[in-house]
């Protein structure tokens, strides 16, 4: 496929086609090569987002109203909570992440995606595994190892399935026609190796018992911290590094900083996981290593923050016009906040208060939701119109989605952070009765449920948009700037009878 450009008569090699149109056609072909599989990943991801949201609301309500759905064992809090975590992590976040990763890698490599059947196979397998794993969490025995609750056979299926993603993304990387490797590609390249290594090794160490006792706990947090740091974060950052400059039409502020950021992230994030066990039963050097590495994380975080901020500076008014930019910039800012916060929480003095409290829960959602999920929303708003060749049906619904999720997560974060911090302070004073802490927290737990409902409204708006997009028969107009509308000079023909429109029927 890489020799496509050399085919006689192919627009990219055809001297008769002006360069501007060649770019449009090249991009349209690559988008077309992604359409089926990437849409499959995105659509199924959103189904899991909805399932995970329902589980989240149930778990949240149970925390302040324990009699809610109390008599059914599958819906007991201790089962619903891990089911929520695993559906949003392995269902929504990973599937959406894979979709965005594949599309970004293909676009940046300037090569079409191949092996569609393999990708569909992976998609089906992954969905079945998450479904089976979730049902297992609700109904049968599972080992409560945070982030790794899925039974071994589910984990094995996910691991094997991921090999397909690896094959396809490395294949497109190998066939890249653009020699230069953009910084987003570094992150994506790293992520496809890091995830399976982490996931398979952690499962082997814990569920197959290859490590003993407390070493299983360090394996647990080595995984649970790294899955954020070197699986979700690289995808989120790759999206931010591509979409912020791309939507603005401004090159990234400092490319040098972005490379420094990549390597320091790879080096330090890996070692930070044991700060989750500060004060716990393990050799002091282990948690100290985690604290030191967490401090070093300031380097990549600050480089990313400077870079994204300086790229945006003077252009913040553009957030008004672009849904993608809005979500992505919200995500990028949350990334800075969550990373700085995370580093501080690794300090023993801070950790003494925040450990074992809702403060940590708020922090986790700042990372997985305000950063990663919002970055995925933004990416999806950019790529779906290009994949399907039609524009989003409603600007109002997009705004509903943004404002509900943005205010929702803000409320979620601020409520639980405040309540969680006080919880930790009170817990560290043995004169405060434990029940007094429980009573104090209840209003904050209600605020979380309320925030969750706001986020749910946003998710439903998003699902409706995607559903309309997917089912829409007629193109509702050209996707924003699909042929650059900002450039009035060049018009139709070369693009309009090209693939995105003509082949839509058969693939859907």
């Amino acid at each position: 496929m890489s020799e496509m450009a050399d085919e006689p008569g192919h627009p990219e090699g055809d001297p008769g086609v002006p360069p501007r149109d060649r770019d449009v056609i090249r991009r349209a072909r690559i988008d077309e090569s992604c359409r089926g599989p990437v849409m499959f990943f995105i659509l199924t991801a959103v189904v899991w987002l909805l399932v995970g949201t329902v589980l989240a609301i149930v778990a949240s309500v149970k925390m302040h109203s324990p009699e809610f759905l109390a008599n059914l064992e599958p819906l007991t809090f201790g089962r619903v909570r891990p089911a929520h975590l695993n559906t949003v992590i392995y269902g929504w976040s990973s599937l959406a992440g894979i979709g965005v990763l594949l599309w970004l890698q293909a676009r940046l490599c300037r090569a079409p995606l191949r092996f569609h059947r393999l990708l569909y196979g992976v998609g089906v397998l992954w969905n079945l595994a998450v479904a089976a794993g979730t049902i297992a969490l609700l109904t049968t025995h599972f080992n409560s190892v945070e982030w790794l609750e899925f039974p071994v056979w589910t984990a094995a299926t996910l691991g094997v399935g991921f090999l397909g993603v690896m094959v396809v993304s490395l294949d497109v990387f190998r066939r890249r026609t653009k020699h230069h490797i953009f910084v987003s590609q570094w992150y994506l390249f790293g992520a496809v190796f890091w995830f399976p290594i982490l996931y398979v090794l952690a499962n082997m160490m814990i569920h197959l018992g290859m490590a003993s006792g407390i070493a299983q706990a360090t394996a647990n947090w080595w995984f649970a911290h790294n899955v954020l740091g070197i699986w979700f974060t690289p995808i989120g950052l790759a999206a931010a590094y591509y979409f912020i400059p791309k939507v603005l039409g401004r090159p990234i502020h400092s490319y040098y900083l972005s490379l420094l950021g990549f390597w320091t992230l790879a080096l330090f994030y890996n070692w930070a996981g044991t700060h989750h066990l500060i004060g716990g039963p393990l050799p002091v050097w282990l948690t100290t290593v985690g604290t030191v590495a967490s401090m070093m994380m300031f380097i990549p975080v600050v480089t990313v923050a400077i870079n994204h901020h300086m790229t945006m500076v003077g252009h913040f008014q553009k957030l008004k016009y672009s849904p993608t930019l809005r979500f992505i910039v919200f995500g990028a800012m949350s990334y800075t906040l969550v990373s700085v916060q995370g580093s501080l929480m690794a300090l023993r003095t801070v950790n003494e208060t925040t450990h074992f409290t809702h403060y940590t829960v708020a922090h986790a959602h700042l990372g997985m939701y305000a950063f990663f999920t919002m970055a995925m929303f933004g990416s999806i708003y950019y790529l779906v119109p290009r994949l399907l060749g039609r524009e989003w049906p409603s600007a109002t619904l997009i705004r509903v989605h943004f404002w509900c999720t943005a205010t929702g997560i803000f409320l979620y974060f601020s409520g639980l952070s405040w309540g969680g911090w006080r919880q930790g302070e009170m817990m560290n004073h043995d004169t405060v009765d434990f029940q007094a802490i429980v009573d104090y927290l209840i209003p904050f737990l209600w605020s979380r449920s309320f925030a969750g409902i706001l986020m749910t409204v946003g998710h439903v708006a998003f699902a409706i948009l995607l559903w309309k997009m997917w089912r829409g028969k007629e193109p509702t107009g050209e996707p924003a700037l699909f042929p650059a509308k900002g450039a009035p000079k060049r018009e139709e023909d070369s693009l309009h009878d090209r693939p995105p429109e003509s082949k839509r029927e058969e693939s859907s």
Partner: protein, 73 residues
Amino acid sequence: MNLIYLLIWGTWVIFGISVIWALSWAVSRGHMTNVEQSGQSIFDDEEPIGEMTDYFPGEGPDGYLNAQEGTDE
């Protein structure tokens, strides 16, 4: 116990050396020249620097695109 500290520090030293080696390798192979230009690789003739590539559906900056919409069909 001492062996553990040796291992940890040893790992870091080996790591440091390989990082320095990789950096000098990159510099010697010219990977560090023209770094900043690399940031422009995501733009092309069709989507050049200076043009936004995403808007709310049916909307554009300053209502310019709204005016265009009508004439498209």
